[in-house]
Structure formats: structure tokens, C-alpha cells
């Protein structure tokens, strides 16, 4: 059975005067891994909880496949959910947790046990069946939660920041494991995170959320390289947002007034390193820091504006000698300069 699409149509939710979801519409394709990305308070978790059935929207429709589930109770929706803090049953064993949804569906005891064991084996937890939840590490709990969420073959899978409690290395490993499992099962998945790197790594598409609305919905690369709004540009990576006007001689009105985006890693201190012709910006080094994989520089341009540079540390030994107050020139290739469509159009 193929996993169905999830369609949201003008879903609205407000808490008093605070609008958590501002007429959100979204179409998640069958089998797709879609990430809701945004800062806290952007509405991403509220949206996920509305699909799960824990938040009752004021208006709008939520469909799974062709079925309108907006008013269906949580326990009738047949959705697998992985919660931020795993939400495992502390009074049951590992196997008991994974069997739970199967026994609820009145599967025979032997079959439930068999399927739960298989799910645990797939999650690399064979041999842990009789363990207490308290005796598991964070990563193991995460795997149990994932096994439990998919063992009953739910129609779709929802995940609410499932990796936020793990340390960095384990998190990166789990990102690939979750993605692999999701692709094997071919299950339509909505994933919530505030970690842009996680979103870029895992997703088919990313919906960047802000103030209860979806700012931009696209595949990871376009989201990163061609943000359509100032918010997305600022949220994804380190960007320089520069108001600009194209000036023509003889005082004719400028053909372009607007905003340019240059990513910190696309700026270089040598013209060749920038990778082509473009702009040169003079500035003074205000601060600099070594970050391992890169050097981080903050320049003061024209005495007021900050310009952020991220320079790969392997290629630029010269950064070691850099001094605060030093005059430098930053270069960016034309193809790395992205124009936002928010300025007044001529």
C-alpha cells in the first residue's frame, strides 16, 4: 500500500490574539520527506500537532489521501508519531513498547511479538527486547520510538524534533538512518526541526516557516541558494543582506532598487578565490575568529555596515596573520550574488 499524500488547505489556529497558523496550505507528495523548518514560535510544531490531531484548528481542512481528517479523533487517524523526548512508556519493556500499537489493533500475541521483534531488529536493537526503557541510551530510545511509530504500518509519519536531545555525532548518524528507513518504507513523512543543516541533509523539500506562515517551499538547494525572502536568506546559513541600487549615468532613474544577498562563504579575500568577476567591497576587519573548518571575519564597510565572511581554513593560511582594524577587500562572483524580489520594482 503506497503512502498517501497529505494536503492542508487554509489551516488556521490562533491563541487569543496570537496567530499560530495563518491560513497555511501545503501539499505533501506521496512518499515525500518534507521538513517544516523555522525558529521557535514560527508555528511548525503547531502545524505538526494539528495534523496529528492534538491541536484543533479553527478553520481549514487536513486531508490524508482523499480523506478529510480535520475532525477525526487522534486515535482514529492512523498516524505514526515520533516525539521530541521519545515519549516511550517507562512502565513497559522495549518489546512492550513496540508491541503496544499492535496489541491495540487486536493482533494475535504471537504475530505482534514477531512483528515487534522484526521492527527492533531493523532498528539494530535485536537483543534489547527485555530491557527497561530507563536502561537505554538516548540514541537507543530514539530507535525504539522510531520502531514503535512505524511498526503498525501507519499511513504517514510525523516527527517532532526527534534528534534535538542527542549529541552532534549521533544526531548526524541518526539523520541518515531515519532518512534510509523512510525511503525503504516509502512513507510520507513530515519532519519538524529548527536545525537548517538537518533539514538540508534529510529532506526532499523544505517548508521554511515564519510567524505562522510558510515563507518558502522548495527543495534544499534552491532554498539555500535562491531564498525568496529576507527571512529565509537570514535564517539559512550566514548571509549578507545588502540594500542596493543600480546606478546609471546622467541621472536617469535607477532600473533596479532592492536587496542583494551574498552568503558569507561566497566572499573571499582574493579575486581568484571568489571564482569569477563580480563585486569588490572595501572594509576594515572588525572581528575575526577561527572555527576549525573555516575562518570567520566580520568587516565594517563604509563605516557602518557589517559584512560577514566565512573562509575555508585549508585554503587561506593568510588569515592567521589577520589583524583587527586591517584594511581588506572582499570579492564575490556575480553568480553568487542573489537578488531578492522585495524591493520596489521599476
Amino acid at each position: 500500500m503506497a503512502s498517501p499524500r497529505i494536503a492542508l488547505e487554509r489551516v488556521r489556529k490562533a491563541y487569543g490574539s496570537y496567530v499560530a497558523l495563518d491560513d497555511v496550505s501545503l501539499d505533501v507528495r506521496p512518499g515525500e520527506f518534507l521538513t517544516l523548518l523555522g525558529p521557535s514560535g514560527s508555528g511548525k510544531t503547531t502545524l505538526l500537532m494539528a495534523i496529528a490531531g492534538f491541536v484543533r484548528p479553527e478553520a481549514g481542512a487536513i486531508r490524508i489521501g482523499d480523506v478529510d481528517i480535520t475532525r477525526l479523533p487522534v486515535n482514529k487517524r492512523n498516524i505514526g508519531i515520533v516525539f521530541q523526548n521519545y515519549a516511550l512508556f517507562p512502565h513497559m519493556s522495549v518489546l512492550g513498547n513496540v508491541e503496544y500499537p499492535l496489541l491495540l489493533r487486536r493482533r494475535p500475541r504471537a504475530e505482534a511479538r514477531e512483528r515487534a521483534r522484526a521492527a527492533l531488529a531493523r532498528a539494530q536493537l535485536a537483543g534489547y527486547e527485555t530491557r527497561d526503557i530507563a536502561a537505554l541510551s538516548g540514541g537507543q530510545r530514539q530507535r525504539v520510538a522510531l520502531a514503535r511509530a512505524v511498526v503498525f504500518e501507519p499511513r504517514v509519519l510525523l516527527m517532532d524534533e526527534p534528534l534535538s536531545a542527542l549529541d552532534k555525532n549521533l544526531r548526524e548518524q541518526m539523520q541518515f538512518e531515519i532518512r534510509k528507513l523512510q525511503q525503504e518504507l516509502g512513507i510520507t513523512t513530515i519532519y519538524v526541526t529548527h536545525d537548517q543543516r538537518e533539514a538540508l541533509t534529510m529532506s526532499d523539500r523544505i517548508a521554511v516557516m515564519n510567524a505562522g506562515r510558510i515563507e518558502q517551499l522548495d527543495a534544499p538547494q534552491p532554498i539555500y541558494q535562491r531564498p525568496t525572502s529576507r527571512f529565509v536568506a537570514e535564517f539559512m546559513g550566514e548571509s549578507n543582506i545588502i540594500p542596493a541600487a543600480l546606478v546609471e549615468p546622467f541621472g536617469s532613474p535607477p532600473p533596479f532598487v532592492g536587496t542583494l544577498v551574498i552568503r558569507a562563504e561566497n566572499l573571499a579575500l582574493e579575486r581568484e578565490a571568489a571564482g569569477g568577476d563580480g563585486v569588490a567591497i572595501n572594509g576594515r576587519v572588525a572581528a575575526h575568529a577561527f572555527r576549525g573548518e573555516s575562518w570567520h571575519l566580520r568587516l565594517t564597510v563604509a563605516g557602518e555596515r557589517d559584512l560577514l565572511l566565512s573562509i575555508p581554513s585549508g585554503k587561506s593560511l593568510d588569515c592567521t596573520g589577520i589583524q583587527a582594524g586591517q584594511r581588506v577587500t572582499a570579492y564575490a562572483a556575480a553568480r553568487h550574488i542573489h537578488r531578492l524580489d522585495d524591493g520596489p520594482q521599476p
Binding site: 490531531g53 498516524i79 508519531i81 516525539f83 515519549a87 512502565h91
Partner: protein, 296 residues
């Protein structure tokens, strides 16, 4: 050299640690003294009284008289019936109430909590007489029942077992609800949500998740209610109307009408032993259930 480095300040630090421990132990001293003088000493005095004849000789005659007296057994039975009945009513009324409190928003819960606690802040005497006004033959409830034609004769609701039970449940309910509510509130809401997402309805959620996780709290509430009510005196004295005579009332009668200090003391010791035995049994049962849960 290294040995000296490793032990730098060791003796002094150890002395500091011991000093700190002594200080914290000394904080418990005043209450230890009060409990010692106010509770433990009298207990020994009662024990001694129960083992002495009127002439002051050591004897088990008080216990022999007690255990061969039918009134003692009757009182014991009534005590257990009252405590068991109160506990049952508290379980039936208190668990849903605690569940409601735990599942509403914190703001609503604190409002409802005041209502739950209100009777606890009222004197037991006032509350008991309050029930008398409501429950007696020409009381408010019977007036309504007879006036509305629902019943022809006033229903006997007071000066009997029922009336006593109502008064005791009313007194114990908040005491039951508080720890039960605390245990339920401590359950992670996402755990309940997880159960619901996997298909569990409200009743199933309650039975497979909330009840097992709140079990510890419910057991402690139950032990408190049961043990507390074993020694109840005022409520049966007023609402029982002389017809409901648990052990506490027998003790009072033995003292006030028979002036039998030895017999009263023996009754007191009997009650204490029952409480101790039940307490140990409850603890054992709780431990058993817990280990069985872990094995499942």
C-alpha cells in the same frame, strides 16, 4: 613526594565533611526530641498499662478480656468496613477527579484545586454537623426528596453506617486526591499523546498508561486514607448516632464509662498492630506489583 601531594588537605576536608553532616543531623534534633517525648514515650506507657492489672501486676488479662469480648470483634469489623468503604469511595470518586485536574490547563486546575482543598481548611466538627443538617430526617435532602414526591418517607441517611461513611469520604477525599493528582500530573503528556496516536482511546489510554504510571501515587493515597480512617472518632461519634461503633469509639467508651485504663490501652495497642500489619502488607503488595510490571 607524590604521596604528600595526593593527601594535601585530605584530613582537613574530611573533618569539614563530618562537621557538615553533624550540622545537618542537628537540624533534625528538635523534632526528634518532640516525637520522642510526645509520641514514643506515651506509647511505651500505654503498652505498659495494657500489660498491667488494676493492682499493678504484670498480666495478659486485658488482652484475654479484649479478645473474648464480642464487642471488640464487632468494633474491629465496623472499623474495617468503614475504612474499606471510605477507601473504595475515594478510589471511585477521587481517581476520575484527579484525572480531570491533571488534564485541564494549569489555570483551571488551580481553581478547581481550591474547591478540592476548601473542606480541608474547615474544622471537621463544623463539617460533620453540616452533614447532620443536610442528611437528618427533616434535613435539606430529605425535604427535597419528600417534597418532590420522589419518596414517601424520609430516607434514613444519618445516625447509621451510610451517614458515617458519607462524612468520612467527604473528609478523606481531598487527602486522597492530592497525591493522586500529583502522580498523574507528573506523567509526560507526550506519553499519553503517543498512546493516543497509536490508536488508544481514552479508556484504553487510562488503563494501559495513566493508571500504571500513577499507580505509586494511588497506592500511597490509599494507604493514607485507610490508615487514617482506622482511628476515626468524631465522624462516627456524631453521624453514627451510637449505632456505628468502630475501635476509636470503643476505646472512648472503655475509658469514659468503664474507667478501664488497661482495657483501653490494650485496644489502642491492637489498633496499632493492625495498622502496622496492614502497612507492611500494602508496601509488600506495591513492591510485588512493581516487580511484576517490570517483568512484563
Amino acid at each position: 613526594m607524590t604521596a604528600t601531594i595526593a593527601t594535601v588537605n585530605a584530613a582537613g576536608l574530611m573533618r569539614d565533611a563530618a562537621k557538615e553532616r553533624r550540622f545537618f543531623l542537628s537540624l533534625a534534633l528538635p523534632s526528634l526530641v518532640i516525637v520522642g517525648i510526645g509520641a514514643i514515650l506515651p506509647l511505651f506507657w500505654i503498652l505498659q498499662q495494657s500489660l498491667t492489672t488494676v493492682r499493678g501486676d504484670f498480666s495478659l488479662v486485658n488482652y484475654a478480656a479484649l479478645l473474648t469480648n464480642g464487642l471488640t470483634w464487632r468494633a474491629l469489623l465496623v472499623t474495617l468496613e468503614l475504612s474499606g468503604g471510605t477507601l473504595l469511595c475515594c478510589l471511585l470518586l477521587g481517581i476520575p477527579l484527579a484525572f480531570l485536574l491533571a488534564s485541564t490547563s494549569p489555570k483551571t486546575a488551580s481553581g478547581l484545586m481550591v474547591l478540592v482543598l476548601l473542606p480541608l481548611w474547615t474544622s471537621i466538627l463544623v463539617r460533620t454537623y453540616g452533614w447532620l443538617v443536610l442528611l437528618r430526617r427533616d434535613g435539606l435532602i430529605n425535604d427535597i426528596l419528600v417534597g418532590s414526591g420522589l419518596v414517601a418517607e424520609p430516607v434514613p441517611m444519618v445516625y447509621n453506617f451510610t451517614g458515617t461513611l458519607i462524612g468520612m469520604v467527604h473528609y478523606m477525599l481531598p487527602i486522597f486526591v492530592l497525591p493522586t493528582y500529583a502522580a498523574m500530573r507528573d506523567i509526560d503528556v507526550n506519553v499519553i499523546r503517543a498512546a493516543a496516536s497509536m490508536g488508544a482511546g481514552l479508556w484504553h489510554c487510562f488503563r494501559t498508561v495513566i493508571l500504571p504510571l500513577a499507580f505509586g501515587g494511588i497506592v500511597s493515597s490509599s494507604v493514607i486514607v485507610f490508615v487514617y480512617t482506622l482511628g476515626f472518632f468524631i465522624t462516627p461519634a456524631i453521624l453514627g448516632g451510637g449505632r456505628v461503633n468502630p475501635i476509636a469509639i470503643r476505646i472512648d467508651r472503655t475509658l469514659s464509662t468503664l474507667q478501664d485504663w488497661g482495657g483501653a490501652a490494650a485496644l489502642g495497642i491492637l489498633l496499632l498492630v493492625i495498622v502496622a500489619v496492614l502497612g507492611v502488607m500494602a508496601l509488600g503488595a506495591a513492591r510485588l506489583v512493581k516487580s511484576k510490571q517490570a517483568a512484563d
